[in-house]
């Protein structure tokens, strides 16, 4: 017997996009709608807390910034794959979101005159990264979580693991989920749903991501017949700290930090003569990998990883302590280096997924009644490469939009009675298939093997041969007998949720690699050694991956161009 829980709007994910959506749905419906936030972690633990450096918005037109400039920088950063109508909507909405968070209590860093401070970030023509020290995502999460406590019509389902999307007659009905505390399997039914489940960065082990950033939400959408868009575009941030990839924010370079090779050379002058270390992330990461491959890097003995130096000393002790205090804390604690004195060992690190669940400009998926927002979704404002400080911003803008849209849709509609038979099949799949399943392969070793092949063949530089090999490996891993658990208790069984995560990782990794193999050009973060040039004639289009019986089936869709025709990119 499957337990049934009913609400009007069901939001999956409690990061920036999910919380912003919940608040918008709650306030725009004036208490009339009953909203649930379902999250596999506790509500303030989502990966959004790890965002560090800034949130982009035009706040100082009187000093020369403009919406036009923010839009152009974003489109250029995207290597012209962003949808320009979405970008225009995005930049116009952002100043209001910064003020909104100020009004809800966010401790933005301030100028002497009391106004909100901003700083430089990579790929921008104006210092428009709004910041709160170097804990921007953390403070945004705190502010939204605390603001959500005001609404009695927002209910949190904390540590509930969503396993599938339930739909009937082409309409959204709800989700199936496991309550981690008790192991109860339930269906949550609602009129409207929003997927705000974040990115899939844990496809890589050297990642800035929290352990929780697995593609459960993306895989659920894919299995429900909704395509994933542009998944081959994965951002490798230039500065992940050795050994585990903790993010060293781009704000370090925005404040004056520089990248150096083992000869002490400021090598970015070769790759981006104007913007140097503050070129867009794809450009800087390629510069770094070229330096490493040509033998001008260092090697970390313990991990075997190659790295370069990020030197913060030009910033000066005072600014490091006040504006980059968390970075200093992280470097001392996790690497034993005080950046006031010595350079940090960094290398390109998986940081962001430009692709996601295919949605339109309002964040609506192809399934009636279901929206997606934030990193889980692909609108797309990021195209082939996202600019720093635009991801937290996107979560806010499309969190708000989807919250309002879902509320508008839900008002006046009846609640669904049931979700059909799929939930029984899902219960069988999970409990008969996995909980009572058997097999010889350790699922954690499947995860390790997947992460290894992704790091080898789907990293900063790619080749057709490498990607084909990766695709074969992923399919071999999928065929192994890892769908079983050792933990036979229903209580807080992370062994079970881990196996479900590994299954989702394999599905989504297959989409990433298949899309990358098909795209025979280099654009933004997708750099093919065998096709080094951008090919607008054939490839200025979005990839759409539908789930098929033999793996992903690829289709393509047009890019919306309003003002900016593609030209060659220089930084």
């Amino acid at each position: 017997m499957v337990e049934t829980i009913r609400h009007d709007i069901l939001i999956v994910g409690s990061g920036l996009a999910g919380l912003r959506a919940a608040i918008e749905a709650a306030r725009s419906s004036n208490g009339k709608l009953d909203i649930a936030v379902i999250t596999k972690v506790q509500a303030m633990r989502s990966h959004s807390v790890s965002a560090e450096g800034g949130t982009a918005a035009v706040l100082y037109p009187e000093l020369g910034d403009s919406l036009e400039s923010h839009a152009f920088d974003t489109v250029k950063g995207s290597d012209y794959l962003a949808d320009q109508d979405a970008v225009e909507r995005f930049v116009s909405a952002m100043p209001g979101e910064i003020y909104q968070l100020d009004h809800w209590g966010l401790p933005w860093s301030r100028r002497e005159d009391g106004r909100i401070a901003q700083r430089w970030f990579g790929g921008y023509s104006y210092p428009r990264a709004t910041y709160a020290e170097d804990k921007v995502g953390f403070f945004e999460m705190q502010t939204l979580y605390d603001t959500a406590t005001k609404y009695d019509n927002i209910h949190f389902y904390q540590e509930w693991f969503v396993t599938s999307i339930l739909a009937e007659a082409g309409e959204f009905r709800g989700f199936s989920a496991i309550e981690m505390k008790t192991g109860t399997f339930a269906q949550l039914l609602g009129k409207a749903g929003i997927m705000a489940t974040g990115g899939s960065g844990r496809l890589y082990s050297f990642a800035t991501y929290a352990y929780s950033s697995t593609p459960d939400g993306m895989a659920a959408a894919y299995r429900a017949g909704i395509p994933l868009k542009d998944m081959e575009f994965i951002q490798f941030h230039p500065s992940g700290l050795i050994p585990s990839g903790i993010l060293i924010t781009e704000a370090v370079r925005g404040e004056g930090g520089v990248l150096l090779n083992k000869d002490g050379d400021r090598f970015m002058k070769k790759y981006a003569p104007n913007k140097l270390d503050l070129a867009s992330r794809d450009v800087v990461s390629r510069g770094m990998m070229t330096e490493i491959e040509e033998g001008r890097g260092f090697k970390d003995e313990a991990t075997g990883l190659d790295y370069l130096h990020l030197d913060l000393t030009p910033i000066g002790a005072e600014k490091i302590k006040t504006r980059l205090s968390q970075i200093r804390e992280i470097a001392i604690k996790f690497r034993g280096i005080d950046p006031v004195e010595k350079p940090l060992p960094v290398r390109p690190v998986c940081h962001y997924v430009m692709g996601g669940i295919d949605v339109n400009i309002d964040g609506a998926t192809r399934l009636k009644g279901l929206w997606a927002a934030g990193e889980a979704a692909c609108v797309s404002i990021n195209g082939a490469n996202r600019l720093g400080a635009n991801s937290t911003a996107e979560c806010l803008v499309w969190g708000k939009i989807t919250g309002a849209e879902a509320a508008k849709y839900a008002e006046g509609r009846p609640r669904p009675d049931s979700a059909g038979e799929k939930v029984q099949l899902e219960e069988k799949r999970i409990f008969d298939g996995i909980f009572h399943g058997s097999g010889a392969t350790n699922p954690y070793e499947i995860r390790d093997a997947l992460q290894k092949v992704m790091a080898k063949d789907a990293f900063v530089y790619r080749t057709g041969d490498g990607l084909a090999e990766a695709l074969r490996t992923i399919r071999e891993l999928k065929a192994k007998d890892f769908l079983h658990v050792e933990d036979k208790s229903r209580t807080y069984n992370t062994n079970l949720s881990d196996v479900l995560e590994v299954e989702s990782m394999l599905d989504v990794a297959e989409v990433v690699v298949a899309g990358a193999l098909a795209r025979t050009e280099s654009r933004g973060a997708h750099a093919r050694r065998d096709f080094p040039a951008r090919d607008d004639g054939n490839w200025m289009k979005h990839t759409l991956a539908f789930r098929g019986p033999e793996g992903p089936r690829l289709e393509y869709s047009a890019v919306a161009v309003t003002k900016y025709q593609p030209t060659e990119r220089h930084y």
């Binding site: 633990r45 790890s50 050792e486 069984n493 881990d498």
Partner: protein, 256 residues
């Protein structure tokens, strides 16, 4: 390198009568955190170990537990700083155990919610439909900044002797957040928020053991926050009067 002796308190209340300590051998590596060691044991030795974790960089607050007798974040504790030979992991005190190292923080979040942890303003329309910024100088910001670093990990509350004896006491986390919002230059709800804590289960229950400040991994000083709250209760005045709260700087209508 010799293996690390990792001892984990195991307990599933649904099937076990009492907790037991189980030892795992974990190969050590340079820079290993207690979370790394626990994940090694869970991934390759015993998949059933229950633990809660996420960001691994001391930002999310998931992995609070008692390590070698003291409340700490597992991700933020190096094996080496504990001597490098033996690590004993137990769940936090003052919370019910869900399983192994995972505790139930439900009442902890409820207490946080009960102190009105958000800006309260009298300009409701402006607060929800902003026309600009609430001005706040760096000096005003610095008065509350350390208290905003709270990651809600629960370590302070788990270490508090008063929480152990009075379940109605809000605890250091919630009280500190009451101070944080009341002292924010933009807030106008201080008087009501502070008055609600002036009772026998409120601020006066704190007898200043200071363990909260000792264990906080983020440099927050909850003991100080609570003493500051007491001062405002005593004087009957919030940190600032309502009409002294931040004024709105209006953004120009157009020009972007």
């Amino acid at each position: 390198m010799k293996d690390l002796k990792l001892v984990v308190q195991r307990f599933d209340p649904v099937k076990d009568a009492s907790p037991k300590m189980v030892e795992y051998a974990v190969p050590k590596r340079e820079g290993m955190t207690v979370l790394d060691a626990l994940l090694y044991a869970r991934d390759y030795v015993d998949h059933s170990i229950g633990l809660r974790f996420s960001c691994r960089q001391a930002s999310c607050g998931s992995c609070g537990m008692k390590i070698n007798g003291r409340p700490r974040l597992a991700c933020y504790t190096q094996v080496e700083e504990l001597g490098g030979e033996k690590v004993v992991a137990q769940p936090m005190d003052n919370f019910a155990i869900i399983k192994d190292l995972v505790t139930d923080l439900g009442s902890f979040f409820d207490k946080h919610k009960a102190v009105t942890p958000r800006l309260v303003r009298e300009d409701g329309e402006e607060q929800e439909r902003p026309t600009g910024e609430y001005l706040m100088t760096p000096g005003e910001l610095s008065k509350v900044l350390q208290f905003t670093y709270c990651i809600k990990c629960g370590l302070c509350t788990s270490s508090c002797p008063t929480v152990a004896t009075d379940e109605r006491y809000p605890g250091p986390q919630a009280l500190t957040q009451a101070y944080r919002y009341s002292a924010d230059a933009r807030d106008q709800g201080g008087a009501e928020r502070i008055a609600a804590l002036d009772n026998s289960h409120g601020v006066w229950r704190c007898h200043f053991a200071g363990s909260c400040s000792y264990v906080c991994p983020k440099g927050v000083d909850p003991a100080l926050g609570i003493q500051l709250l007491k001062r405002h209760v005593m004087t009957g005045k919030p940190p600032h009067a309502k009409d002294e709260a931040s004024k709105v700087w209006k953004a120009p209508e157009s020009g972007r």
